[in-house]
C-alpha cells in the first residue's frame, strides 16, 4: 500500500505492506539510522519521532504513520542543538544507539526545557547504550537545558 506522510520535513509517499513494521519501510527508504536491535521496543535504537513523540519503529506498523510527521536522525540539521551537544559532550561510543538517544532527548527537551537529572534518567529509560555512555549522554542533555 501507499502511505503518504511528512518524512523528515518533506512530503513523501512510501510503499509498504499493510502488516509491515515501520522500521523495515524506513530502512528501505535508506534511512539506516533506524536500527533493528531488540525487536521488542525495549532498547530504543529504532526510535523515530512521530508528530514529535518518540516511538519504537519496530513496534509500529508502517500504515500507522499515514498522514503524520515522521522524523529520523537523517532529518536533523547539522546545526541541530541536541545533536551538537551529543557531539561536544562525547556522548557516544559505537554510535549505534545515538540517533535514538538524540531523538528521545529532543522530545524530552521540547516538553521540559529544563529537566532535572531524575527526569532525564526517566525519559531516557527506554533507550539502551551497551557501551555505557550514560553519564556523558545526561551531560549532553543538560547542556541543552535552558
Amino acid at each position: 500500500m501507499r502511505i503518504d506522510l511528512l518524512l523528515n520535513g518533506r512530503d513523501a509517499t512510501i510503499e509498504a505492506r499493510a502488516d509491515e513494521m515501520l522500521i523495515d519501510a524506513l530502512r528501505r527508504e535508506g534511512l539506516l539510522s533506524v536500527r533493528a536491535t531488540c525487536g521488542l521496543g525495549v532498547c530504543g535504537a529504532c526510535t523515530v519521532l512521530v508528530d514529535a513523540e518518540p516511538i519504537s519503529a519496530c513496534l509500529t506498523l508502517a500504515p500507522q504513520v499515514s498522514g503524520r510527521e515522521v522524523t529520523t536522525a537523517e532529518g536533523l540539521e547539522d546545526s541541530d542543538p541536541v545533536a551538537r551537544a551529543f557531539a561536544e559532550a562525547h556522548a557516544f561510543q559505537c554510535g549505534w544507539c545515538t540517533p535514538g538517544f538524540v531523538l528521545t532527548a529532543k522530545a524530552l527537551l521540547a516538553e521540559r526545557p529544563d529537566p532535572s537529572d531524575d527526569e532525564i534518567a526517566r525519559a531516557l529509560g527506554g533507550n539502551l547504550c551497551r557501551c555505557g555512555s550514560y553519564l556523558k549522554i545526561s551531560e549532553a542533555v543538560r547542556r541543552c537545558a535552558s
Binding site: 539510522s33 536500527r35 557531539a87 559505537c94 549505534w96 534518567a121 539502551l128 557501551c131 555505557g132 553519564l135
Partner: protein, 694 residues
Amino acid sequence: MDARVSGRARYAVDAERPGMLHAAFVRSPYPHARVTSIDASAVPRDCVVLLGEDVANLGPYGCQVKDQRVLADPARHIGDVVAGVAAASPGEAVAAAALVEVEYAELPAVFDPVDAMAPEAPRVHEAAARSADEAVSIGVRPIAGSNACHRFRIRHGDVARGFAAADVVVEQTFRAASAAHAPMEPHAALAEWEGSRLTLWTGTQTPFNTRADLAGMLSIPEESIRVIAPPMGGSFGAKTFVRLEALVACLARKARRPVKAVLDRADEFLTLNRHPAVVRVRIGARRDGALTAKEVDCWADTGAYADCGPGVATKMGYAGVGPYRIPDVRVDSLAVYTNLPPNGAFRGYGAMQSVWASERTMDILARELEISPLELRRRNLLRDGDEFATGEVMRDVHFEECLQAAADAVDYEADPRGKGLCVLLKGMQTPSRAAIAVERTPVGYVIRSASCEMGQGVRRSLQLLGAQMLGCEPGQIVVPDPDTDTSPFDTRTTSSRSTYMMGRALAEAVRDLRRGDGERGFGEIRNEGGLDPDTGQGVASTHWHQGAAAASVSVDEETGRIAVERLHAAVYAGRVVNRPGAELQNEGSMLMGLGAALFEGIDFADGQVTNANLSDYNLPAASDVPRLTHELLEREGAEVHGLGETAVPPVPAAIGNALASLDLDLTELPITAERVLAAVDARAARRAGLEARR
C-alpha cells in the same frame, strides 16, 4: 558532525552487494544430538540450501582448538547450526529454513563444568581435537578422556609449606553466571566470491585470525581471502574469531552469489556468551596478615566449542592470584566443554570471574584475622621489584595508589560499613605483534591499521597520536577500515592492547617515514612472552592493567533490593591519549561490571536459554546508573596502558564486599534480590547459632 551522532555511520549490517541473498539457519533444538536425516525438498527451488554433504570435504576450524565444523553433526548445543538457507529476502530465508525437516537422535548432555569433569560425564567431543597453531599463543593442554580442552597450571613455591606456615586458612567456592555481550549491533557478515577469491565484510575484532582460520578450513591460501571490517555497533568480545563468516562463505560459494547473514536477538544468545565459572579459593595468612599460600581452582565452562576458552581459563587462572606477594601458589584452571552455547572472549577475559572469587575471599580472610580489608590488602600488595606468581618481576606498579584512591573516594577508613573494595591485575595479550603503515597524501596522511573500531575509539586515538607525531591536525589523518589486503598485520583488537601496541608501532612508522622519502613509513612492534601452561611460569603480560574499585551500598532487607549509593574506580593509565575516550571506557566498564554484579545472567533450562531477549535479560539503563565516579592515574613519562576493560572486574567484588561488611555473604553472581534474602536468612541463622552457644 560525527557520523555516529548524525546517524550516517554504517556498520556490517548495512553492507550490501548487487544480487546478494540473505541467510537463515536451521538450528538444533537439542543440546546434544546426532543428525539422522535432513529433508530439504520442501524448500522453494529459488533458495539455496547448505547441507552436510556440501561441506563434508572442508576442514575443521577454531581459534585455539580446531573443534568446529561449518555445519554441526552431532549438534552440541541448542542452536548449533545443522543447515543453512539463502533466499532473496531475510523473511523468505527464515520461512525456507523452517521448511527443512531434520530428524535427530538425542545424546546425553551436560550443562555444568564441574559435572562435566566427572568420570562418567557425557563427552561433548569424542576425540581431543587438534590444537590450532596459527592464532594460538598458548600451548593448549587437553586432558585426555575428559571434557577439559585445556588445563592451565601455576606451580610457584610449595603450597603445603605455605599452608603449614599459616595461622589462618579460609576457603570458599564462588560462581559467576553466563552473560550476554549484547552488542546493540548483532553479528553480521557478507561473503562474495569472485572466482577463487573470497571477500568478507564482517563486524570483527579479529580480521587476520578470521582470515587464517577460514583459509585453513577452505584449504586455500590466506591471500585468497580478503576481510574488510567496518566499525562495529559494539562487540565487547562477541565479534572475535570465526562466527558467521564460515557459513556465509560456504552459502555464497554454493549460491554463486553474495550472501549476507544478520543474527536476530534471540540467536545472539546462542552464538557466543561469557564463560560461566566456578572458582574455589583457599588462602592462608599469618596472624599479622602476611599471605603465605594460595590455591585457585577454576572451572571455566567454555560450552560446546573451545573458541578461546583455553586463553580465558589461563587469564582467569593467573588473575585469580591477585596483585599480591604470595610465596607459595598453586593454580589449576580448566576450560571445560559442556552442551551450552559456546563461550568466548568477554570484556575482562575471565578476570571478572576469578577476581570476584579472589577478592571476596580476601574480605573473608580479613574478617577471620580481624584486620581491616584495606589494611590486609596494603600489607600484601605487589610493589615495584616484587615477583608475581608467574615469576615475573613487576615494574611500574601502582596497585596501592589505585586501591587507596578507591578507598578514599568512599571515605572507607572513616567508616567501612556498607562499603567494599577490590583491587586487581589483568594481563594483556602476550605475545603479540602490531604493524602499521603511514602514507602521505596531498592533504595529510593515511594511517593503515588493522585495529578495529567498536566504539572504544581506536581510530580517534590513532588520529590524535598521529597528529602529535606528524605535526598536523587530527582531521588531516584518515584511518580507513581494517582490510587484510591493505592493512599491515595485527594480532587482533583485544585485551585493551591497541592504543599501546599500535601507538608504539606508529612511532616506528613515523620514524621510518622521516628516515626515508617522507612519503611512506612502516612500523612493527613485537612483544615476546607467554606462559608455560604446565607451570604458569614465564611472561604473562608485557605490562599490567592495574585498577581498583570501591562501592558503597544499602540493602533493603525486606525485599533484598540493593541500592548502590556510590561506585568509584581508579585505573592506572600511564598516559592518557584521548581523554573523553578513556573516560568513556572507564564508565562503560563500570556499568558492565554493575550489570554483572546485580542483574546480568543468562538463564538456562536443560541447555535452553530462557531469557534470550532484552526484556528478560536486563542491561543497565540510564536509571540504573548510581553515583559513579572514576579516575585515570597518570605518571610523567609513563608508557600508555590499555584501559578498555580494567574497571569491569573489580565492580562485582567491590559490591560483594560492601555486602560482606554488613555480614551478608554472597558467593554467586549476579547478586539477585533472592540471593541477598538468602544471605540475610543465613546471617540470622548464624547469629542465632552464636546466641545459642552463649
